[in-house]
Symmetry: C2
Subunit: 188 residues, 2 copies
DNA sequence: CTCAATTTTCAGGAATTTCTGAAACTTTGA
DNA sequence: TCAAAGTTTCAGAAATTCCTGAAAATTGAG
């Protein structure tokens, strides 16, 4: 690899990390390279900089496209495809969260929903089903909340996050307000 | 495997999913089995039910222990160790989030911190460093918020989550209040 | 301390995943 | 329509990860 030590360490870190969760080393490194790159790169440039085979890069890029993590563009008079990552890190974060939800959470929710429909044939089954229900409700609450939050604009989100656990006080305050007015601020 | 179809499908789903993110099939299945089990199981029982070798189960349990996801207990007059998962799904969720943070996020933050200390030797480096800083700030904000939230009690947390994006309105309200009083509710 | 019960370690075979080069395919400009 | 430039596919080699059985280590009752 012919990059500065700075970029070098960033790229290899993403390689290692990549394999710690779902994606592989190649994909992690390609992403990292694109993320810090000043200008979009074409597949050959990526292959050369990371010393991967051209075909490996092609597969990696396809994988990144399926995660919606890379942008594709063309330059006039050049037939090659140039890749880059979106500039806005918040947008990247949201995309990542959405995709992980789709790949890791949704299938589990579907399975759990199915299991909860089954008729329990034994005491053990009844217990298992109750446990699955607890898991289902937790996951559903958390993911619904997540997607609620994702639809907020970045400024509000940042404000909320900076507020941190102080939101508790705000909540207590509105709670006592709603007791006064008789209106409930909670949904459902 | 000698389980009911209900437990069967739950366990195999966790096996598949397990390999989709960091942990392997064995570990996923052991966890799933313990999660729905009425009573704690010892290593031999687990090995038998899942048709894994005894040693594989031993390694899987060790892995789960390192994630703090299993409880260990003994019965009088029985030298074997019995394993189970905590009852409270919220507690499980928190543990999982903490461990993932420790394993997946902290190392990245450390690397980024290091990279940001380096002196950029070129225009490309300067750009890379700026990008890393954006990433660093986002991750730090999100994880700090997460741990803030984790320290809230479950009731408050649930209330907050059920509120969903309506929290936006509460926020706008307090914002206008603070304009009136001149006090700022945000930290930092 | 001894011995049997239980758990852990670990070398190497099995299974899976990753990566490559060659070939097939696609696109576009002439 | 053709040829050249570029991209994707895919079979199998290479690397990695997983899993097992055998042996070693640990534990605790007597």
């Amino acid at each position: 690899m012919n990059a500065t030590p700075l970029v070098q360490s960033f790229v290899s870190h993403f390689g290692e990390m990549g394999s710690r969760w779902g994606i592989n080393r190649t994909v992690g490194q390609i992403y990292a390279l694109l993320f810090v790159s000043e200008k979009p790169l074409n597949a050959d440039e990526i292959a050369e900089r990371l010393s991967f085979s051209r075909s490996n890069v092609s597969m990696g890029l396809k994988e990144l496209e399926s995660w919606r993590l890379v942008k594709l563009q063309h330059y006039p008079g050049d037939r090659r495809e140039y890749f880059s990552t979106p500039d806005d890190v918040w947008a990247i974060f949201k995309t990542l969260a959405e995709e992980r939800k789709k790949r890791e959470v949704e299938p589990t929710l579907t399975m759990l929903r199915g299991a909860m429909m089954e008729t329990a044939g034994s005491e053990a089954d009844r217990h298992a089903q109750a446990r699955m229900k607890e898991m289902y409700q937790l996951i559903e609450l958390v993911t619904t909340w997540f997607s609620d939050i994702q639809h907020m604009d970045v400024e509000t989100l940042q404000r909320l996050m900076k507020l941190g656990s102080q939101v508790q006080k705000v909540l207590q305050f509105t709670q006592s307000l709603s007791k006064l007015t008789g209106r409930d601020t909670e949904r459902e």
